[in-house]
């Protein structure tokens, strides 16, 4: 047994951390936060040059062909740095959907561009309020033309293409749903940028009016693919969340060591120490659940659905817990725009919702554990 990343993978993490600390300091995040850019283009190009965008994409499609464990360590660093780029939508959602269900031609068309930083992709799943569910999908596909509206679509305003979930049947079953690939620069697509909790990452509304689309995967298999994509993305995003949680903990710890009140560093008060200790506990539990998720993802294990849900819940809780208490430890300063604490708080709460909320994943986890139990 070796329940840890390899030395090479750890080395890659160090490289990613070094690269991001130079290319993605808080100042760069703030450029996007303040609305001066939709995303950090230089950083995106840099990530492509480092080979990070295509790390899990096979070599024949322009990637590094390394694997998902490597992608996990990079995801953690992206979360730590709050990288203001469409990494999760392009790499965890669009690229994973293509790798799972795309034809050779579709992979050949998009994957090399993703790896090179020349195409941004996303998944257009939600249609307003609610969690992932085939019933919630109303957008229709007639032949190769899509009609309907999707929101929120992560990074939808800057994406070049989207994987779109559409209704192709009306039996009331999962088989009613199919996936389509849409070139968002084509006709019949209207894009509207939406305001959101975390301006360092965009959200959009996409309206399709007879938009030209091509099927991704077989008709009626859309929901199965989406479930798999969400599981994979859940593990990868959980690593981002753990990276963010760890950084928020460090910020709180550092501030507690420096800030003096009542003649002592506030970190010498037990009330503050115990807050920070509890942050460490939740971040550690989340990291361990994530490692299990990484193992399941990298080996495509039968345990992946359960492991992904556990990683998702645990990492979401840890990031929210660490981000909110980091502000608490900072006192009034934590509540200013100038201090970075709120950027972590925003990201923590935005990532808590993107792939379906925690209550959705709680339900999924117990459902999956129960099925496994019944099968055993």
């Amino acid at each position: 047994m070796n329940f840890d990343f390899s030395d090479e993978q750890k080395q890659m993490r160090d490289e990613a951390r070094k690269f991001l600390s130079e290319q993605c300091p808080p100042k760069a995040v703030r450029t996007v936060l303040d609305g001066k850019a939709a995303y950090d283009r230089d950083l995106w190009r840099g990530l492509a040059e480092m080979g990070f965008l295509g790390v899990a994409i096979p070599e024949q499609f322009g990637g590094a062909g390394a694997g998902h464990l490597e992608l996990c360590v990079i995801a953690e660093e992206m979360g730590r740095a709050l990288a203001p780029v469409p990494f999760s939508s392009t790499v965890y959602l669009a690229a994973e959907a293509l790798m799972l269900a795309g034809s050779d031609a579709q992979k050949q068309k998009w994957l090399p561009k993703i790896a090179a930083g020349e195409a941004i992709g996303t998944l257009a799943l939600f249609e307003g309020k609610g969690n992932p569910s085939p019933k919630a999908i109303k957008l229709t596909a007639a032949g190769a033309a899509l009609n309907g509206t999707k929101k929120p679509v992560p990074d939808g305003a800057i994406a070049d293409f989207a994987v779109v979930a559409a209704r192709t049947g009306s039996t009331g079953r999962d088989a009613d749903i199919s996936l389509f690939l849409v070139d968002l620069k084509g006709s019949g697509v209207e894009v509207k940028e939406l305001t959101n909790l975390d301006p360092t990452r965009g959200q959009a509304e996409l309206t399709f009016t007879n938009a030209k689309a091509e099927p991704l995967g077989a008709t009626g298999e859309g929901w199965g693919i989406i479930t798999q994509v969400l599981d994979r993305a859940a593990v990868l995003l959980a690593f981002e969340q753990v990276g963010g949680a760890d950084r928020a903990l460090e910020m709180g710890r550092d501030y507690a060591l420096d800030r003096i009140a009542f003649g002592r560093p506030i970190g010498s008060f037990q009330a503050v120490k115990h807050i920070l200790a509890d942050m460490y506990v939740s971040a550690t539990l989340a990291r361990s659940n994530c490692y299990y998720g990484a193992w399941a993802l990298s080996t495509n294990a039968a345990e992946l659905p359960e492991a992904a849900a556990a990683a998702r819940i645990s990492a979401t809780q840890a990031f929210q817990h660490c981000a909110k208490n980091n502000i608490q430890v900072h006192g009034g300063m934590g509540f200013t725009w100038e201090f970075d604490c709120h950027m972590y708080y925003r990201r923590a709460n935005a990532t808590a919702l993107g792939l379906g909320s925690v209550s959705y994943w709680e339900d999924a986890l117990i459902d999956r554990m129960r099925k496994k139990n019944a099968a055993a």
Partner: protein
């Protein structure tokens, strides 16, 4: 990253599995499997005898205290082999409960500080379960603040004379030996005047009085010492260096308690899986699922945290204070899990023992849980350890640190 055995590990596992299949007391397997929480009991047999017999059988075949050196009754096995053994031993491992303090804390302290002849004499029967050991640290005046203890050891020639009182000593009533922390110099600050010994619990002047716990059972005791004589060669470490010696014990305590800690989650999940509520199966209720999921990720988080620790150990890295999280998380969790299991039973949750659902398993868990949050370091002490040793935050302001022990106040409100 993988969970696969290496060829050597696979061979070791096969050997362990075959030996267990051929030798374990299978007549108790079902009962042991079910009695996972808190106190292990057997209906038609004396648990102490069954446990001792199993331990002796293991020791004779070289399967006891696997990580200890062979000459002291162990097997010289690697950390991973020890884990594999635990996985294979399964429910029979629960028979080791009464050896945990001896194997996990007293043994390692003896190994680090006792004379060679004592190690060879005392450790093998400790490993084989023929002799049981207890830990005599806590006192009425010193639990969290164990360095505040007052039991005196005074030197007289080649002997030490012990007078005082210990409390909360688990298993003292069936123990043969104990490691004992005493005060040898009250005129210096508290950490600097302590000395460690080991002693025979049958020594004249040792009196053990069981304490009835809040849970109704009596697993721990008061131990009184009246002019008890301990030869100087049973001293562990230097005179007045007992604090450093005790740190070895406490570090091992956290490892052994943290590793095998139960959370109550598997039991709760199984319970909810079969429980019918008014509107249908409990497991289909969204609020039940939400609670279960929250416990599930804590339980799996702990499980994989210990797997990470084992991986680190197998690479020769030393497990650090981050292992404190196991007991901290599991202690409150088991308490909450028990309360929730009773909540699901409604008014009938108030019943206990054989009158209750599942023979009162969750009620017993509820009543035992408070002890878990206190023994082996309270929740608050665990948080202090994490804050100070893992996160590097300042230590508490210690008003008694540089004060001679005999000048520290002994009462709170007048």
């Amino acid at each position: 990253m993988n969970f696969d055995d290496t060829p050597q590990e696979a061979a070791f596992r096969a050997e362990a599995r075959a030996w267990i299949a051929a030798n374990a007391p299978k007549q108790y397997e079902e009962e042991l499997r079910k009695s996972s929480l808190g106190r292990v009991q057997l209906k038609n047999a004396n648990i102490l005898e069954v446990a001792k017999a199993w331990q002796k059988k293991k020791a004779d075949a070289g399967w006891a205290c696997l990580h200890w050196p062979k000459e002291y009754g162990g097997r010289g096995a690697s950390p991973i082999e020890r884990v594999i053994w635990q996985q294979e031993e399964g429910p029979f491992g629960r028979l080791s409960a009464m050896f945990i303090i001896g194997h996990g804390m007293c043994g390692p302290t003896m190994m680090a500080f006792a004379r060679e002849e004592h190690k060879r004499h005392y450790l093998p029967p400790l490993a084989s379960g023929e002799k049981i050991w207890c830990q005599l640290f806590s006192e009425p005046a010193g639990g969290s603040d164990v360095a505040g203890l007052r039991t005196r050891a005074e030197r007289k020639g080649d002997e030490w004379i012990i007078n005082g009182q210990k409390i909360w000593t688990s298993g003292a009533h069936y123990s043969d030996y104990g490691i004992l922390l005493t005060r040898t110099d009250p005129t210096v600050p508290k950490h600097k005047g302590l000395t460690m010994f080991f002693l025979d619990m049958k020594s004249p002047g040792v009196e053990v009085r069981p304490i009835k716990q809040a849970s109704g059972q009596s697993d721990f005791n008061e131990v009184y010492f009246t002019d008890v004589r301990i030869p100087d060669h049973q001293r562990l470490g230097e005179v007045n260096d007992g604090w450093n010696v005790s740190l070895t014990t406490l570090m091992n305590e956290r490892m052994s308690i943290g590793a095998g800690v139960s959370t109550g989650f598997p039991e709760l999940f199984e319970f909810c899986n079969s429980l019918m509520l008014e509107d249908g199966p409990a497991i289909e209720d969204r609020s039940v699922r939400s609670r279960l999921a929250n416990y599930a990720v804590k339980a799996s988080g702990l499980k994989y945290t210990s797997m990470r620790a084992i991986s680190a150990l197998s690479k020769g890295e030393r497990p650090g204070p981050e292992n404190s999280i196991g007991k901290l998380v599991a202690g409150s969790m088991i308490q909450e899990v028990a309360m929730y299991a009773l909540d699901l039973q409604g008014a009938a949750g108030v019943l206990s023992g054989t009158d209750a659902e599942l023979a009162g398993k969750f009620q017993a868990m509820l009543l035992r849980a408070p002890g878990t949050r206190v023994e082996g370091g309270t929740d608050e002490i665990m948080r202090n350890i994490i804050a100070e040793r893992v996160l590097g935050l300042p230590g508490d302001i210690r008003v008694d640190k540089d004060v001679p022990f005999n000048q520290i106040p002994t009462k709170g409100r007048a």
